[in-house]
């Protein structure tokens, strides 16, 4: 049974939901308060959605300075799996652990709605259990989810298979329909949609299951670094 650290910043609000997804698949979730500086014994880290530090300044801008982020960086550097969902994704890009930036949605409104995602790469801890081209219905819930990067970064993302998920119909103006990206090694992944909200047919979709199974290593081989 894996021990998954769910980082809680003041202002996070999806930590219970992320933990529920982990325990639903039989693993153990442990809340990690943002002032902690070690991740001893933790097998994987989730930065959940919400509004860390109120999202004041920019989403993720203050959170990336939280003490726990040093430990998360070290954990990632040793190949540990790190997943940033929504606000967690915003924290990871602000921290420079993932390339690019997230801007306000094209329509300048918050959007909470189901989207269809297309798996574009399986060389990441999140998508390794899925198949390329597979369509997954997963809701989005964000104001600043429009993925932005310069041409050079984009070329590199494409070349390395770092674009892991794309929207089938772009809801927010993201460059190249990008919904989620990984780092070069594939062990750090961020996505704007909320797979933890798609874990049960009672709530509308169970398509997030294949992503969490990948992340938690259920039903798939342990992750091997791509590079």
């Amino acid at each position: 049974m894996a021990r998954i650290g769910v980082v809680v910043f003041p202002g996070s609000n999806c930590e219970f939901d992320a933990a529920a997804a982990v325990t639903r698949l039989g693993d153990q979730a442990e809340f990690v308060w943002h002032t902690r500086t070690d991740l001893d014994g933790i097998d994987g880290v989730i930065l959940p959605g919400g509004f860390a530090h109120g999202d004041y300044l920019r989403p993720g801008a203050l959170a990336r300075f939280s003490p726990v982020m040093g430990a998360v960086e070290r954990f990632a550097a040793t190949g540990g799996p790190v997943l940033g969902i929504c606000n967690g994704f915003q924290v990871l890009v602000e921290a420079g652990m993932l390339p690019g930036a997230l801007q306000k949605n094209r329509g300048l409104t918050f959007l909470c709605q189901p989207t269809t995602l297309v798996v574009s790469s399986t060389s990441s801890v999140l998508t390794r259990g899925a198949t390329i081209g597979q369509e997954l219905v997963v809701p989005i819930n964000h104001f600043s989810g429009s993925y932005t990067c310069d041409d050079e970064t984009h070329d590199e993302l494409v070349r390395n298979g770092q674009i892991v998920l794309r929207y089938k119909e772009n809801p927010n103006g993201s460059r190249d329909d990008i919904a989620g990206v990984a780092n070069k090694s594939g062990n750090v992944v961020g996505l704007m949609p909320h797979p933890e909200r798609a874990m049960s047919a009672l709530l509308g979709s169970a398509d997030g299951m294949v992503l969490f199974e990948g992340f938690l290593g259920v039903k798939v081989a342990p992750f091997v670094l791509a590079h």
């Binding site: 530090h53 109120g54 004041y56 300044l57 203050l62 300075f65």
Partner: protein, 83 residues
């Protein structure tokens, strides 16, 4: 003539500024000391086609008050800027 105008929108005095206070509270932990009274505002930059600088500022003022700010809580200050 085309004039380049900048409109600074700030919260009126006495209005709570949660964003500014949150940033201020966070600073010491990030190693920034001696920074106080932090306030967050917005700014808008645009070109105005007008006869004179005055006319441009007048147009910008009306735009600022009608669209870019709510005078009940915000002050809007237009000025001619340098590009």
């Amino acid at each position: 003539m085309n004039y380049f105008v900048i409109v600074d929108v700030t919260l009126r005095k006495g209005i709570a500024d949660p964003e500014g206070s949150t940033i201020e509270r966070a600073l010491p932990a990030l190693g920034f000391t001696g920074v106080t009274n932090v306030h967050a505002g917005k700014s808008f930059r645009f070109d105005v086609e007008a006869e004179s600088e005055e006319a441009a500022l007048e147009k910008a003022t009306s735009l600022a008050e009608r669209l870019l700010s709510n005078p009940v809580i915000e002050d809007a200050l237009p000025r001619i800027g340098e590009r």
